[in-house]
């Protein structure tokens, strides 16, 4: 169980990164920001190493239960945010991205870290691509949500100075660009899921609650993209759509067991 020990270290690194990013919010110093980014990057790389170690320990891809899903979600959040920093420099969102990654790990800590035996139904080459693509999408959508919330909070302050306008534009652009990255991933997730279902059960679509809600998530973001590109909507309205989209995505990920018909589903996991 080396991977669990490494994850404890990752948790510490993320907490440190969060503290440093928090300090950056107060100090606005370039050095502090770089330190935060460095810690988060180190955490993400260590996290990646932990997943690879677990892969080796298990002898199969470690994406098979709720614990491993949270580990994957947290890793993707860190990786996607580091990628964003390199491209757009959101900087001030760092604390919140760290908190999201920490949240994923913290939830995983409440679950059983033991490596479960691989069920025949999950023994497929589609498992890795399906799960990784989905959690990369969820992570990007999570950061998009954070950016849009930051946008809403900033616009609420009322008076908009020029510097504020720059910030608003950055938040809007990050909120949007993450969705642009996430949407093709969501689509790939749906498609790989359908192809896998065809191979495993002989039907590419079965209106299982998980499938249905994955489609609903996709529809919400398709709606977002149409509004943006055809109607040219911007600002607060898009923030609300993105918020609804993220809520639906998280419901698809975690909420389905609360559906009254959840016992009818073939792939709702976790308690």
């Amino acid at each position: 169980m080396t991977n669990v020990a490494i994850l404890n270290l990752v948790f510490g690194l993320y907490v440190l990164a969060a503290v440093v990013y928090g300090a950056f919010l107060l100090l606005r110093s370039n050095g502090v920001w770089l330190a935060g980014l460095g810690l988060l990057s180190l955490g993400a790389l260590t996290h990646l190493a932990a997943v690879i170690v677990r892969w080796v320990e298990a002898g199969h891809p470690p994406f098979t239960n709720l614990y491993e899903s949270f580990i994957c979600f947290s890793l993707m959040t860190a990786l996607v945010y580091v990628g964003l920093e390199l491209k757009y420099r959101p900087r001030k969102l760092g604390l919140f991205a760290c908190l999201l990654a920490i949240g994923g790990l913290a939830y995983a800590k409440r679950l059983d870290p033991a490596i479960p035996p691989l069920m025949p139904a999950l023994n497929s080459r589609w498992l890795t691509v399906h799960v990784v693509v989905y959690f990369a999408a969820y992570a990007a959508l999570g950061i998009s949500f954070i950016a849009w919330v930051a946008y809403l909070v900033t616009t609420r302050k009322g008076e908009q100075e020029t510097s504020e306008n720059d910030r608003l534009q950055l938040m809007e652009s990050i909120g949007h660009q993450t969705i642009v990255v996430a949407f093709p991933l969501l689509t790939l997730g749906l498609i790989t899921g359908a192809v896998w279902a065809e191979r495993a059960w002989g039907r590419y679509w079965g209106w299982d609650p998980k499938e249905t809600w994955a489609l609903i998530t996709w529809i919400v973001y398709a709606f977002y993209l149409h509004m943006r590109y055809i109607k040219g909507w911007r600002g607060r309205r898009m923030a609300f759509i993105a918020a609804v989209g993220f809520a639906v995505a998280m419901f698809t990920f975690l909420g389905l067991k609360y559906l009254p018909v959840s016992e009818q589903s073939i792939h709702i996991y976790g308690t």
């Binding site: 023994n123 093709p184 689509t187 790939l188 498609i191 495993a200 002989g202 209106w207 018909v261």
Partner: protein
Amino acid sequence: MANPLRYAILLVFFVALVMADRKAKRRILSSLKLTVVLLVLLALCSAAGTMVYQGIGREQSLEKYGPLWDGVFRVLGMYDVYHAPWFALLLTVLAANTACCLLRGVSLRLKRLGWMLTHVSILVILAGVIVSSVGGISGQMRLAEGETSSTVSSRGGGTFDLPFSITLDDFEVERENEPHETLVVEERRGRTRSVPVIMGQEMKLPGITAAVKKKYNHAQLTHLVVNRSESDANPAVRVGLSQEGDNIERWLFAESDQSPVEQFGMRIEFSSYESREMLEAARKTILAHGVEPTVPESLVISDGEREWTVPAVVGAEGQLSGLETTVKILRYVPDFVILDTETREVGTRSDKPNNPAVLVEVEGESSWVFAKFPDFTMSHGKPSKYEMRYVRSDSSSENGATLSVMHSVQDDNLEIVYTDAGIARSWDSVSIGQSREIEGKGVSVAVLEYIGDAGVVLELAPSSDHGDPPGVQLDVRGPDGTIRSVGILANARPILVSDDAALSYRFDFPVTQYTSRVSLADGEEGGDLQREIRVNAPLKHKGYVFYQLSYDQNAEQWTGLGVKRDPGIPVVYAGFVGHAAGLIMLFYVNPALKRRRTAA
């Protein structure tokens, strides 16, 4: 199941809509407003299908939702949302909307290619679904080993025939060679986790530590009386009796009226007193008036189907064979009374068994069970799903012979008192191991062992029966340092090892694959084809695909195969590829091109 007419009507409707939009001046059908309305409706309707049970029968739905809502749901088609006519109509209008937009915006410019590809692909996917539905067939077949068949039970009822026959040569459940064994720890507050079973390694549980002491491949539970502490909280004696070469040993418990044993025509019981004076007073009463008749008693537990009988002895705890929960007898009171209505503290009004009751713990919840009020139990937590009865038969002979073993804690004195309906009376002080002859009965009696705080533990013993499950024996160390032995059989319900933690022992050989080995025979061509069907690795033959879906879970003798022929698959997959390619162009290629242009 597929209704070609229905799809024909929908297709005609689709074409009519598209044609209408070509002629119309106002762009309603190709408007974004319509797209928005349709997407919202599609999302809501899809969601609705996950809120209401799908495909359930009239009786079930009536029971679940009541007559009013059941009526509404049935009229609206809520029990089969995704196959309802209005759902198909919704998708048709959405397809028409997409097609109209495409036709209005058709362009051969590279910039528009991604956009066109994504939207055309959606139409292609929907077309593929129709091809699947109209031109495909699917069903299931169950094959026993050695059985040959070419008949498939269709999903919508009825059957269809394959153009070849399939024989199940062998069905195999492949398992890992090494067992997967874990101790599952469930904490009352907190997570459930699995711990590998390593001999001797200490595990920290809330308030206690536990370590695996022994492991058995096959084990049975046996009763064991153990001393739980140095105190005299629950005194017990082991008594040996013999008559004409007939020897028996019995445990007798002071704190329970259960322990009297009927043997050799007399009742044998044990009582313990704090001081010598109390013992002597009790002895005088017995010799003067005989013994208050006490009788064997038991706790009967029922899950509605089966019954288990447990001796109602304070300190008894453990698993019962077939009953997958721990049962603990925590306390006995002869004359139940609630001493304090606020704290609900329980005590006894007298020493007479006027209202005898035992406090029983089942599945971590304790409740009082009353001998005289079988329909009434008093629970602390949630009521148990088990029905419990505390049975004392008060029919025993009043004037029978009674052998009383008496003990005083104060000076550790043991006495044997014998009465026989007032005819014969004798008493004698004895020491451990010392044998006494009872005059006129031809019975000799000896107290072999005394335990101050007896607990009945069900301990594991190795078994030679290979049908018996594996088990582990653990040492559980409490916060005060006392060590208790706990035996756990594999794959039984969790056993409480402290107030806040329960343990269970999982042992199995995890399944790695289900494989159906089949022979396919085409009749004319002769020569069987040997093939395998595995989970996630279907078998394709002559346009038909076979899936490993289910199997005989008891004897692993038959397999359940999904069978289908689906000409829509290539169409749907082409749509998938096109859509993905279109998205990549739209969101990755186009922006890159744009950047290059602005840079230039």
